[in-house]
Amino acid sequence: MAFASIHVPDFSVQAVIRAEPALRGRAVALLEGNPPLANVVAANLSALQAGIELGMTKTQAGDFGVEIRPRSPAQEKTAHAALLDLGWSISPRVEDTAQDTILLDLAGLASLSGTDEAVADRMAQQAESLDLVVNVAVASNVEAARLAARGFSGVSLIPPGEEAQYLGCLPVDALLPSAEILETLDRWGVRTCAALAALPVVELSERLGQEGVRLHELARCADSRSLVLAEPGHSFEEEMELEDAVEELEPLAFLLSRLLGQLCARLEARSLAAAAIHTRFELEPSFEKDFLRANDLRRKPPSKIYEKTLALPVPMRDPKVLLKLLRLQLETNPPAAPILKIILTAEPGRQRVAQGGLFLPVAPDPEKLGLTLARLTNLVGDGNVGSPEIADTHRSDEFQMRRFHSPRETSETSGKSERIAAGAATQTAELRTAAIFRVFRPGVPAVVELREGRPTRVRFRGMRGDVLAASGPWRTSGVWWREDGWHNDEWDLELQFHSHTTQAKRGLYRIYFDSIRQSWFVRGMYD
């Protein structure tokens, strides 16, 4: 019985190079973290040889003349999926060992693919076609194959019975011992698998316990574990490359409907539903349009990839509903260029099975609610739908939108927090003042006449009002550490408006002077 292991060294870097083939053969370092504090988290051998060290900042790494890219979890995910695909294309029995490593059972493949050596070579070649450079090891033992693939580059074939000898030169940390045991082994001067294998196992177990015994077994290649098989097709991705670019929504909807149908069928077969649909379009490059837009500084340069995620309120697998939602999303944010390739990925989730509680208030059907919310988002834009919440700041009109949860969802999960919220609401009601303030969003630009620093006359929305009484200024300023800091002087004014058509009218208004923009605005009025 033989097992193979495929390991992708410098996995994160390779994942990025795979998406940008021009980087092949170059020194590449990857950054992670928020600018300006991003650090190098991975680098290939050429980059390390050029002097790059992990933990360097972008500025430091910039001095070494290497290609610097951000780390891409998405590309890593794709690369991992490709690695698994590679495994499944060889053998149905594949273990998803780590993001950069898989194990395969080669039993019974001889008649299909020839000798172990031929299989190993095929794996390496196929990996190359997937833009991955891999180490392949074949051994009669799962762990020996895994260790060899991690420890030796290229293709390694370990003859049965010679595993321990073959792997003896590997450092003990390849066995992934715990930090404590690694420290003990280091103190003992035991630094290779061979040295560890040479220790008497009974005495070792007295000292390092079961983990010691396990490591000893690994070092001797005496481990006989079986594979933990991965289930294929977990990612639920559908993809379609188009010969002619699609520009109109209708033909696109037709194609999407087909893909969604397939996705939902796959989900149904596994008793799952889609919790989210990721849409990814590859767009047709258009030199003229790009050039024109690139010169139009007011607009962002278009992306060659169109990506959107449709988060669903509850997992669902009705292709019609899903299509409607996708259409609404596309209407709100249409792609900037004709579409060449469509990739739809369904994030699987458990289908909702519970029925509504007898004593729960009647709430809209989650699917319908989701649809309504999507329509609203379509109308008013992303980030403008949900429950408003006052932000913790002195800035007067600051608020944030919290995602809206369907009442049923909330009632099932957070009865307690509701009670707390209700308590808080009562408290707030107690503290609420009698006057009600109606906020104008955004603030209405105004022209204000001043005398000795106090407003005397205000004009806005074509109205002109004399100040009868003024209270202020009420001064706030903040966020001085960012560029969007503010500094406002507010006034509460009693205004008397004059109009030719109507009778004179009085009103209480709040206006403010924005020192950063050097302009006056009406914040709102008191009812």
Partner: protein
């Protein structure tokens, strides 16, 4: 006219963003005549505010915000001395019963101590704001008023009951906030209803609006938030700055009386810190004698052992000086002070605690006679006025050096016992924001991630010298951050702004203040972190500025070394050495000094001292006094070192600034080296009195002002004109005085230090084993790392034995050996085992004394708290190699400890294990083995597993390199050969010379030297030059790196533990160094060699 009567300084720790000095300065700049400073629960910044205000001048009113149990704060202003005393007592009471930095004042207490205090109703944190906002029931079950305004009225009425109706002011603040104005309207109504006066304040928290940013940062630090998530905890706007009277008048134009009342209230506040009411305690003289009478008797008594019997010439010579001093002491009413210090010294002597006075007290013959100091000022012609003078009108300053550690603590506790908990306290030490702490805390508030913060903090340089590249901007670039990024720029600005602002209060290492009666009525007291200690709210300088007498009980590592050495000499050499009667002019001592063979000796061991010693070639005690004083910033900056050395070597003629100054400068060959000489110059050349001369020194001190300098120059010139000294000489004299006085070292101080230096040199030369053991037991101290001390001692022929559980105690000790020759060796103590807890280390020796350990199992059984990591630490350094009398190697022990630490239980133990069953037999074997070797040095070479006993392991013995790594990482020391010794042949092949060879090589030769860096220095006086000390197995080589070369090799010089340096050898008067031309890293060992850097 408006006066700001409510300001918080940065001494409200994280609630104010400006120093008291800055607040006072801005207040004066804005044209106000007075300001009141309220710090939170204390008067921490009051002395600085008072002194700053005195200079400007404005009136500095003292107050405090005192926290109540409900969280709001009483804003209390001091009207009279009684009020001040009440405030201090109130704060002391609340502080002493709470944990550090906490405490609340109870309503009953405030009623009791309200006299002399005026209460404002406060701002956001005040009682009025709290009463208007709160929802709870009334205090003490009182009837609950229904509306906020009723509650607030009741609250103000309560304040009137406590402080009296005339002493409560309704405070109004306007920071352009709606809620505040609502409160003001309520306050106004209450004031009208109760007939109370209004007062406007601005609740100042910083001097200028820009400092609001710093206050926001402090808010984040205080609340453990970042700016991004602090929300409404941050300030609403930037209005709490010091506003001008015009601005305030505009703000309160509707309430002019609130502005006018600031003037009225200010005029009521008569108290200033000039009226502190401090009195030094009286010494209880026995038999109804007066203090003076008793002091005279003690001095007379002490003169006999110091100066001989009354008719002896020395006694006769000292008599007039003693009489003069006593007369002045009587006149200044200071006998009590001298007796109190004498009493502490007497306690130390009675309890075998080494003690020696230092500082200017060594100028006093009375101090010498009383046994406080050990230098004879009459014999040495020291200037008494440097210590005490009539004109100066301030308390003398006596510093006592004590052995650091427990002995000093005993002396401190004695003072507490003698003067009571409220009569004595330690002075505080204000910890301020410096480079690293500032970078770390501000970075945290700006949401920098921990790794970046670590990187930034580690980059903030600790060099004494800062070149133009040593700026924060450069550090940012080094850390890989773009200094032009807005967030980084803001970070940078804030780091600069926060520098030197107080962060928290610590405890001064040895300064104590005592008071007649109650110290808590002079300054509030707080508990210190250390149990049993009480600290005053002011630091040492503030206490001195306020005229509070302090006694410094300083812990000196070398005193502890001397004391420990004497004990070891007594126990192991069976000899008695009396430090007071050491042989004078010991040839061995002077020979060592002349060769700069001074590693470990007090004050004369540094690289700079060593580079001077062969040129100065000390031949008598006074030369040591000069040696101690000459390597100081004063002589170096004043360019006195080279002229003195040249004159001493006869290469330059001795001349004097003026013939009349010959008697003063004769001893130092015409070059002024000591502060006293400058004072005498002023006295002789310009006719200054002793007091005036001392005044001159103080004027030239750290806080020198241009105006005072000009005044003094005028006086000096006038005096010199009278003495008909010509203008050119006058210029030279004035130049000498002004440039030197700032950094000059007092001769008396140098003499006291020289005594200790001589004693340390004597002990090192004659009792090397005892001295080495003692100095190793008192680390960290001095200039060198313990490994350098050990290597130096070994080069002097001392045998140093490794740490061994079968022989070592917690401390290093002496062992007699008889191999070839008889002698004493130092056995390293378990204190050097990194990671071994002291209580475990101390438990090992008594267990071993009861019965030798038969095995590692036996050790674990009898010291059960020992942890696996501790056993591993011991095994790694070879400390378990000889346990049970068996010879094993380190890895055998490491193999065993893993099993010992993971015992399987008695049922599963293998019968052939070393267990308690075999303990007796093994103990017998062990005892025999120890007796045979007498805890002998190990002839057994590690790595040769000679006996193949039960402890055999399947592990290979450590290689030499592995042992070195284990020694350095486990103890920081190796007793085996120096790491470089293993590579000598290779080094020789590369043409690298050992350190000992350099003395034989002619000046100017191109050489290559290599060694482990034991010290890196970049002194402030050396214009960017870097000095390296490289150690190899033969000794220490010195290298000089120019600023240009340092920039070129910065990383190599700073980060590499072993360096190869190429350059020209400089040998000037046996001062040998290599002027580096190239610096290369050497990778000889991975051992963690340590260096003492950046002195």
């Amino acid at each position: 006219m408006y006066n700001e009567l409510h300001a918080r300084s940065a001494f409200s720790f994280l609630e104010g963003a400006s120093s008291p000095e800055e607040l006072a300065a801005v207040c004066a700049e804005r044209g106000m005549g007075a300001m009141a400073m309220f710090d939170r629960d204390g008067v921490y910044g009051a002395p600085r505010f008072h002194l700053a205000a005195q200079k400007i001048p404005i009136r500095a009113h003292i107050g405090a915000e005192v926290t109540s149990p409900s969280g709001w704060r009483y804003s209390l202003l001091v009207e009279s001395r009684e009020g001040y005393q009440n405030l201090c007592r109130l704060i002391t009471k609340m502080k002493l019963r709470a944990k550090k930095s906490e405490g609340l004042v109870l309503p009953g207490e405030i009623a009791e101590k309200s006299h002399g205090l005026i209460c404002l109703t406060g701002g956001d944190d005040g009682p009025l704001a709290h009463a208007l906002a709160r929802n709870d029931e009334g205090a003490n079950g009182a009837a609950i008023p229904e509306t906020p305004i009723e509650r607030a009225t009741q609250c103000v009425e309560q304040l009137c009951e406590i402080f009296g109706r005339h002493n409560v002011y309704v405070e109004l603040q306007r920071h352009f906030c709606r809620h505040e104005e609502a409160r003001n309207q309520a306050a106004l109504a209450i004031a009208r209803k109760l007939g109370l006066p209004l007062v406007a304040t601005n609740g100042v928290c910083y001097a200028g609006p820009q400092q609001r940013e710093l206050l926001d940062i402090f808010t984040c630090i205080r609340n453990h938030r970042t700016l991004a998530n602090a929300g409404r905890l941050l300030a609403r706007n930037s209005e709490r700055y010091v506003k001008s009277p015009a601005e305030m008048a505009r703000l309160f134009e509707d309430l002019p009386e609130a502005i006018a009342n600031t003037q009225v209230l200010s005029s009521r506040l008569k108290f200033t810190l000039n009226d502190l009411g401090y009195r030094f305690p009286k010494y209880p003289a026995p038999d109804g004698k007066s203090e003076m009478q008793f002091l005279r008797e003690r001095t007379q008594e002490g003169m006999i052992p110091r100066y001989g019997p009354p008719d002896s010439p020395a006694h006769e010579r000292a008599r007039p000086q003693i009489d003069r001093e006593l007369a002045l002491i009587e006149k200044l009413d200071l006998p009590g002070y001298f007796l109190i210090v004498w009493d502490i010294v007497r306690f130390c002597r009675a309890n075998n605690i080494l003690v020696q006075g230092r500082g200017s007290a060594a100028n006093s013959a009375v101090c010498y006679a009383l046994g406080i100091t050990a230098v004879d000022p009459v014999g040495m012609g020291l200037l008494f006025e440097r210590f005490l003078s009539e004109e100066r009108g301030e308390m003398p300053d006596i510093d006592l050096d004590l052995p650091s550690g427990d002995q000093r603590e005993r002396a401190i506790q004695y003072v507490y016992e003698r003067y009571g908990k409220l009569g004595a306290a330690m002075t505080a030490n204000v910890i301020t924001y410096r480079g690293r702490s500032a970078a770390r805390e501000i970075g945290k508030a700006l949401s920098f991630d921990p790794e970046t913060l670590d990187r930034l903090a580690s980059l903030v340089s600790a060099w004494e010298y800062k070149d133009e590249y040593d700026t924060l901007a450069c550090h940012f670039r080094d850390a890989g951050l773009d200094p032009n990024h807005p967030r980084i720029r803001k970070f940078f600005e804030l780091c600069v702004a926060v520098q030197d602002l107080p962060r928290h209060l610590g405890q001064h290492s040895g300064g104590m203040v005592v008071c007649q009666g109650q110290l808590d009525s002079v300054v509030p007291l707080e508990p210190a972190t250390m149990p049993g200690r009480v600290v005053v709210q002011w630091d040492k300088e503030d206490c001195a500025d306020m005229g509070i007498v302090k006694i410094d009980l300083l812990g000196l590592g070398m005193m502890a070394v001397l004391e420990d050495s004497l004990k070891l000499i007594r126990d192991d050499y069976a000899e008695e050495v009396d430090l007071a009667h050491l042989p004078e002019n010991d040839p061995a001592v002077y020979s060592a000094l002349q060769k700069a063979d001074t590693v470990g000796m007090f004050q004369i061991e540094s690289r700079a001292q060593m580079s001077c010693l062969p040129r100065l070639r000390p031949e008598c005690f006074y030369d040591i006094v000069v040696q101690v004083a000459i390597i100081r910033p004063g002589p170096i900056v004043g360019q006195m070192v080279n002229p003195y050395l040249k004159r001493r070597q006869g290469r330059e003629p001795v001349d004097y600034l003026h013939p009349s100054l010959q008697p003063v400068l004769e001893r130092t060959l015409g070059v002024p080296l000591f502060q006293e000489q400058l004072l005498r110059i002023a006295m002789i050349a310009a006719g200054f009195s002793g007091g005036q001369a001392e005044e001159l020194r103080r004027a030239l001190g750290f806080k020198r002002s241009q105006q005072r300098m000009r005044d003094i120059e005028k006086k000096l010139r006038a005096g010199m004109d009278r003495k008909q000294i010509d203008a050119a000489v006058q210029d030279t004299i004035i130049q000498s005085i002004t440039s030197f006085a700032l950094y000059g070292f007092p001769e008396s101080h140098a003499a006291s230090f020289a005594l200790i230096a001589y004693a340390s040199a004597y002990l090192k030369c004659h009792y090397l084993a005892a001295f080495t053991a003692a100095i190793l037991n008192n680390q960290p101290m001095g200039f060198y790392h313990p490994s350098t001390l050990v290597k130096d001692a070994q080069r002097h022929g001392l045998k140093v034995k490794p740490i061994d559980v079968a022989c070592s105690d917690w401390l290093c000790k002496l062992e007699r050996y008889k191999k070839g020759r008889e002698g004493l060796a130092v056995r390293l103590g378990l204190r050097y085992v990194k990671g071994l807890r002291e209580e475990i280390g101390r438990e090992i020796a008594p267990q071993r004394a009861a019965r030798a350990f038969s095995s590692i199992d036996d050790l674990k059984l009898r010291v059960p708290e020992i942890q696996k990591s501790e056993l591993a630490a011991l095994a790694s350094i070879g400390a378990l190699n000889f346990i049970g009398g068996k010879r094993t190697h380190r890895r055998d022990a490491l193999w065993q400890i893993e099993r010992v630490a993971r015992r399987a239980g008695p049922l599963l133990e293998r019968p052939d294990d070393d267990s308690q069953a075999n303990a007796n037999e093994n103990a017998h074997l062990a005892a025999n083995a120890n007796a045979e070797s007498g805890c002998e040095s190990k002839t057994f070479k590690e790595g040769v597993n000679s006996d193949g006993g039960a402890a055999n392991s399947p592990l290979a013995a450590m290689t030499t390199e592995e042992r070195l790594i284990a020694d350095f990482s486990g103890t920081g020391i190796t007793v085996g050969p120096h790491p470089l010794a293993y590579h000598r042949a290779d080094l020789q092949r590369q043409g690298i010379r050992p350190a000992s060879d350099l003395a034989k090589i002619p000046d100017g030769t191109f050489v290559r030297v290599a060694g482990a860096v034991i010290a890196r220095q970049r002194p402030g006086t050396a214009k960017g030059f870097v000095f390296l000390s490289l150690e190899d197995e033969t000794g220490i080589a010195n290298a000089i790196i120019t600023p240009q070369l340092f920039r070129q090799y910065h990383i190599t010089v700073v980060h590499n533990p072993v360096l190869l340096i190429e350059g020209r050898l400089q040998n000037l008067d046996n001062v040998i160094s290599v002027k580096a031309e190239r610096v290369l890293p050497l990778s000889l060992t991975r051992a963690d060699l340590s260096s003492h850097d950046f002195h």
